[in-house]
């Protein structure tokens, strides 16, 4: 992602500080994560301190300061999923991919994240990859699910 593209996004939001979250979301969608130099650039262009931009970028879970994989796996660890064995599902995914929660595989294919509730408790234990829902998960279904990608 180059600075021209960032300029375009900034201009689309009228260079206003109030739209910082939307600007960061757009950058995140395009670049897959929030690179440091781009955050500094945004801060400079909007005329706000970098510490302020970083405060937003680290506050929301939607933002990532580390490069993320092409597919983001979200494992639900909410109460309903938890009691139905979401932890075991998570452990299986971790073992299959060889990464821990929050990490990205070395080939940048998957990023593993945990969420606290996806609001689809009837489907629990629930795993979401990109925008595909995998309900009623168990440990045996995990390798098959990962093979789809």
């Amino acid at each position: 992602m180059d600075f021209d593209r960032v300029d375009k996004i900034l201009k689309a939001y009228g260079m206003k500080e109030t739209h910082l979250v939307s600007i960061l979301l757009d950058i995140q969608t395009e670049a897959n994560f929030l690179p440091r130099e781009i955050l500094s650039y945004v801060a400079k262009k909007l005329g706000i301190p970098l510490s302020q931009v970083c405060r937003f970028a680290t506050f929301y879970k939607a933002f990532s300061l580390k490069p993320r994989g092409r597919h983001v796996i979200k494992t639900c660890l909410g109460t309903a999923c938890h009691v139905r064995g979401a932890v075991k599902v998570l452990q299986t995914i971790e073992r299959e991919l060889g990464i821990r929660d929050g990490d990205t595989t070395r080939d940048f294919k998957f990023t593993l994240e945990t969420v606290n509730c996806l609001g689809a408790c009837a489907l629990g234990p629930l795993v979401v990859i990109d925008n595909d829902y995998y309900g009623q998960m168990n440990t045996t279904k995990v390798p098959k699910m990962l093979k789809d990608y």
Partner: protein, 236 residues
């Protein structure tokens, strides 16, 4: 000029003042920690809580951020306020027991025990350093990062900031940076040594020896008050 009811008395205050400023003007002491005259109010430490409103509709509000309004009823020392204040000091003590400022507050307001797990985090997230850097030093180098229990104060990306001029303003204003009198490895989480302050020099001299208005600095005043109390109670 508008009128508010401050502890039951009608007083005139300037419009645009906060409750804290009004109380200060009329000489009512309200403890503060995250408030500093040169910085914008933050309302984070909750020590300056006062009760506003009357009767069962009374609610607690931080006086440093609450602007005065016509007919506002303020009570600064109700049971509820004092108990909440003590609870806040206790909570802050459990987070940062090595801070002299918080230990002094504990002694002043009679907090003698901590019922929470001691966390030794050395930061109570009062935001004084952030505001100091931003508003007075024009540095804007540090800020809050992350959220919830991971919230912390740091430079962007946790690396040495280019905007930081190492002025030390953040350390100057930090209430947790000044270590407590007994040092960081004291036996108990709550000190309360100031509660046992009792000039021992009067046993030997006719006059107090602390001319520098630094009572207790030499450390001789701190004697075991418990023993003394025991003897008093046994006599009576």
């Amino acid at each position: 000029m508008i009128t508010i009811r401050l502890n039951g008395a009608d007083v005139k205050v300037e419009e645009g003042w906060t409750i804290l400023e009004a109380c200060k003007f009329y000489g009512i002491a309200i403890p503060t920690l995250c408030y500093n005259e040169g910085l914008s109010p933050y309302g984070g430490c909750r020590l300056c809580l006062v009760e506003i409103g009357e009767g069962h509709r009374a609610k607690l509000a931080s006086s440093c951020t609450y602007p005065v309004e016509e007919g506002l009823a303020v009570h600064t020392d109700t049971k509820r306020v004092i108990e909440t204040r003590k609870m806040m000091i206790e909570l802050m003590l459990s987070i940062s027991p090595n801070s002299k400022v918080i230990q002094d507050l504990a002694s002043k307001f009679g907090v003698t025990k901590v019922r929470f797990k001691i966390r030794n985090e050395e930061c109570i997230l009062c935001g004084l350093c952030v505001r100091m850097c931003r508003e007075q030093m024009d540095g804007k180098a540090i800020g809050f990062q992350k959220r919830g229990y991971k919230r912390k104060i740091s430079t962007p990306f946790d690396i040495r900031s280019e905007e930081c001029r190492l002025c030390g303003g953040c350390i100057y204003i930090c209430p947790a940076c000044q270590l407590r009198c007994q040092g960081p490895e004291a036996d108990t989480a709550v000190c309360n040594a100031c509660l046992t302050m009792d000039p021992t020099c009067l046993d030997h001299y006719d006059e107090l020896q602390c001319w520098m208005y630094d009572a207790g600095r030499c450390g001789t005043c701190v004697r075991e008050k418990i023993e003394k109390e025991k003897t008093v109670s046994s006599k009576s």
